[in-house]
């Protein structure tokens, strides 16, 4: 993807976010705008970084680290970043992600129905085990280190 592509697709997702934030949570476009801009800028920089840095890290890793750095107390703009992003409701960016994700697996529906009971059971077990495994370890270590 070229930088033009990135800007365009991110702008689309920004519009989607503002639409969802307006319809779902009554936040006016003008109120969402600064936060959306912050989020899109971070995403764009993350895309740039993952392009430039030769490490094989996923773009999402750069993106969350950049978000963290912008909002941590050392950042001169942390106040603005936190406040403006706070206007974007948590689930507002997700509706569009869900729409694209649904479309992207829409050609697997037939295969899904062919999987049968066993694989559905196993998938549920794998998910449950992954979640509760890390949940149990997290709980125990948090207690042992007196973090909670």
């Amino acid at each position: 993807m070229t930088i033009k592509d990135w800007i365009f697709v991110l702008a689309i997702s920004g519009l989607g976010m503002m639409t969802a934030n307006y319809i779902g949570f009554d936040v006016a476009f003008s109120q969402s705008f600064p936060g959306v801009l912050v989020l899109l800028l971070i995403a764009l920089c993350a895309a740039g970084l993952s392009h430039v840095i030769p490490l094989k890290l996923p773009t999402v890793a750069y993106c969350s680290i950049l978000g963290l750095l912008c909002a941590c107390p050392l950042s001169p703009v942390s106040q603005f970043v936190i406040e403006s992003a706070g206007k974007i409701n948590f689930t507002a960016p997700l509706t569009m992600v869900g729409a694209f994700a649904g479309m992207s697996i829409s050609n697997q529906l037939k295969m899904f129905f062919k999987q049968g009971r066993k694989l559905i059971i196993i998938t549920i077990l794998v998910m449950t085990g992954t979640f509760f495994g890390s949940l149990a370890v997290a709980q125990v270590v948090l207690q042992l280190t007196h973090a909670i």
């Binding site: 033009k4 697709v9 991110l10 689309i12 976010m17 639409t19 969802a20 319809i23 779902g24 989020l39 971070i42 995403a43 895309a47 993952s50 890290l57 996923p58 969350s64 680290i65 978000g67 963290l68 750095l69 912008c70 909002a71 941590c72 107390p73 992003a85 997700l94 509706t95 992600v97 869900g98 729409a99 694209f100 994700a101 649904g102 479309m103 992207s104 697996i105 829409s106 050609n107 037939k110 899904f112 066993k118 694989l119 196993i122 998938t123 549920i124 794998v126 998910m127 449950t128 992954t130 979640f131 509760f132 495994g133 890390s134 370890v137 997290a138 709980q139 948090l142 280190t145 973090a147």
Partner: protein
């Protein structure tokens, strides 16, 4: 990410292919966010249906298997768009982590060690997969939560036609269809037990799959609103670590562990059922 590989000759060409996808996405946002959240009480917890679920479901219907609005080329384009559209959300979670940096740091040891907890699933799912009569597919199916990178890894290590890769693909497909809803439900049920601290629940949500994590975090912040920011912060940190270490965990720990358990358990557990015995003899 794989979004970087597929390039159009120009932005105009991209728009010509993808405009239907954008249009549908906005349409789904209108429908999904107008309906909004629906909460259904279940046992001590709540099953929350979020707009993302309706959008996902509507998206699935557009494809070549149902309404045929999208062809295979557009379906592929959509999967590239997921990778871009999720970035602003990931940035938002990162901001949450930055704003709560002191509690994230104080939880450092737990954040690192809970990554190993993700492997616990192998001890649960592998024996049951074998009892159900799966053979080498069980290794692919249970070595990890089987999202895109894991699927690619299995195809790379064992070959796309291998039983291992088939098992991985199956869990990938089923997970894509039911995972988003199930993950949020499971997280809110875990919260309802009252046994776990919100920080731990947040960390457990970060499993290296953006859409699963978002579903869990959305559900948790709805049932524990007082901790919403901290839950998001922990999820973001854990998700970031998983994104970085996930593939190495699979290569150096998950797959070897699966192979070991398979060798130890298959000769007994794999022959409990008739179909398991028959498959074992055939090989």
């Amino acid at each position: 990410m794989k979004t970087a590989e597929r390039a159009y000759a120009s932005l105009r060409e991209r728009i010509r292919t993808e405009w239907v996808l954008y249009l549908l996405a906005f349409l789904f946002i209108l429908v999904a966010d107008t309906i909004g959240q629906i909460k259904i009480p279940v046992w001590k917890g709540t099953f929350i249906i979020f707009p993302i679920f309706y959008a996902l479901f509507l998206g699935i219907l557009t494809g070549p298997n149902v309404f045929k609005i999208l062809d295979d080329k557009k379906v592929k384009a959509a999967s590239g768009l997921v990778g871009v559209a999720i970035l602003p959300f990931v940035a938002k979670l990162g901001i949450n982590a930055g704003a709560n940096i002191s509690i994230v740091i104080s939880a450092g040891p737990a954040l690192l060690l809970q990554e190993l907890g993700n492997l616990c699933t192998i001890f649960l799912a592998m024996p049951i997969a074998l009892m159900l009569g799966l053979k080498r597919e069980a290794i692919g199916a249970t070595h990890s939560i089987n999202r895109e990178t894991n699927l690619a890894l299995m195809q790379d290590m064992f070959g796309a036609d291998s039983l291992e890769a088939q098992g991985s693909l199956s869990v990938y497909i089923v997970g894509g269809m039911v995972g988003t809803i199930y993950f949020g439900f499971m997280a809110s049920m875990a919260a309802a037990t009252g046994l776990f601290h919100p920080y731990a629940l947040g960390m457990a949500s970060g499993v290296g799959a953006g859409i699963l994590m978002s579903s869990a975090v959305a559900a948790l912040s709805e049932v524990m609103p007082a901790y919403a920011d901290q839950i998001a912060a922990m999820a973001s940190a854990s998700e970031t670590i998983s994104g970085i270490d996930g593939i190495y965990m699979a290569i150096f720990l998950g797959i070897p562990l699966c192979n070991f358990l398979y060798r130890k358990l298959e000769p007994t557990l794999g022959r409990l059922t008739k179909s398991g015995r028959e498959l074992a003899e055939k090989n």
